[in-house]
Symmetry: C2
Subunit: 281 residues, 2 copies
């Protein structure tokens, strides 16, 4: 059980930061947040989702600090919040790519025994505080990643925090994290952006009328936040390009079977895909 | 309003045929169906979803006949049901590819003035009579395609039939139909099968644990019926390979931007895709 005395500091009050704030404030934790969007902060304060700004945090009491912001804004915010970081029992994040994050942390020379990286698998094509919800993490998985100096105490607090929000946790190494999400999240987004782009250039232009079928569901994730995905594509470039190559090999294989009208092998290909997909349910 | 005296003949009592039977039987129409699956027919009869087999249809009364079966079984069933076809006020189908269908119909030398091709945009990754539902077509679009000899009377009956099931209709030419669905339905399925196949070969093998995110939603359609998709890929091969080429060009473009870490152009690319996708809602 997560100690009720923790103050929760949140840097970035968007979909994820806002949902953490909503979930933990409902359970009585004191929440302090920063965000470039003053209006979001005011609404959150008025709605009693946060108790104040990050500067209001009491450095003498216990602290958890979570960075929920675009990858490329992390460095500046890390620098700015060095004092809170040094006092916190746990410092975590919710970023989609961990390699750059780790390099940034290392380059700042901070003590990382209180750092545990987090990645709740609970994204949405929606973004912003407006879309945040206290139940966003309920029955979801949060992937935790240790840094070399991470203390077992910090890891335990991080697990308890996600469990307090209804999630379960598993551990992945930093390298496995970035490789895994390249294939299961970043590549699907890349594909979705490309498919939508191809359809938008169709001659017939009747997509609006007919998109009620597979296309609309299939490309839901193409409505995701451009800035966030720009950052992810650049910061996890190597893994994403590797995954894309595997995907292109599959495309080539199935394309050849279709070119040859090889009914049996097409059926086998689809059947295998279906069996694997059904195993995900 | 669809004349209440029509008997509805359905060849193939799967997801689509079963859903037509459920919707129209609820409204008091007499339904007669054939299917290779005797058990499905028995359940449908017991549940009062059908009134009998196709052989029980009264050839002296008004008839609508609908073929809802895999593309490649169509030719045999057309031959078998020539007498009902010649007596019917409307003959329709629900197949995903119209070119082969049209060639098959032409080759049989039947009078096609009563033929109107239909394609309800209401598929599902689920298949079979078990998954059929009377409301499957409510608020959906059914795309109607005339053959050269189609009478305006038959077209009107076909529109009324889909409206009776809660759908609205639009008309597309045969060529536009196959081209349009290649991009908006067949290509997304092809991509989904390939992506799942790529993920199934990942080293880390943790997909089961973590698929709660984008991957599961994104690849829902990879659970579709293999036989149906084998038929579609072969019978709409040219259009699908064309669409795939457009998609591969998009992939190459975005891949180049990522390779060059061209943040601004990546952001522009995603933003355009998002704007088009959001316009589909």
């Amino acid at each position: 059980m997560l100690n009720k005395d923790f103050q929760i500091g949140i840097v970035g009050l968007g979909l994820i930061g806002g949902s953490i704030a909503r979930s933990l404030s409902q359970q009585g934790y004191e929440i302090f947040a920063d965000d470039p969007d003053d209006q979001a902060l005011e609404i959150a304060f008025k709605d009693k989702v946060i108790n104040g700004r990050l500067e209001d945090i009491d450095l003498e009491k216990e602290i958890i600090l979570i960075f929920t912001l675009p990858v490329l804004s992390f460095s500046k915010e890390l620098e700015k919040n060095k004092e809170i970081i040094s006092r916190a029992s746990l410092v975590s994040d919710c970023l989609s790519v961990k390699k750059d994050l780790n390099e940034t942390i290392s380059s700042k020379g901070v003590d990382t025994s209180n750092f545990v990286l987090s990645h709740p698998v609970a994204g949405s094509e929606k973004s912003g505080f407006n879309n945040s919800a206290s139940n966003l993490f309920v029955n979801k998985i949060s992937v935790l990643t240790k840094l070399p100096e991470t203390s077992s105490k910090a890891y335990e607090i991080c697990s308890e925090m996600w469990e307090a929000m209804g999630a379960s946790t598993i551990e992945l190494s930093l390298e496995d994290h970035d490789d895994f999400f390249a294939s299961t999240s970043h590549l699907p987004h890349l594909i979705s952006f490309c498919l939508i782009s191809a359809v938008s250039k169709m001659k017939s232009g009747k997509a609006n009328l007919l998109s009620g079928g597979g296309l609309k569901d299939f490309t839901r994730i193409a409505s995701s936040d451009p800035k966030m995905w720009e950052d992810i594509f650049i910061s996890n470039k190597e893994n994403i390009l590797d995954s894309l190559n595997s995907f292109k090999t599959e495309i080539k294989d199935l394309e050849n079977l279709i070119e040859n009208s090889d009914a049996k092998k097409i059926n086998d290909y689809i059947k295998k895909a279906k069996i694997f997909r059904d195993s995900l349910i």
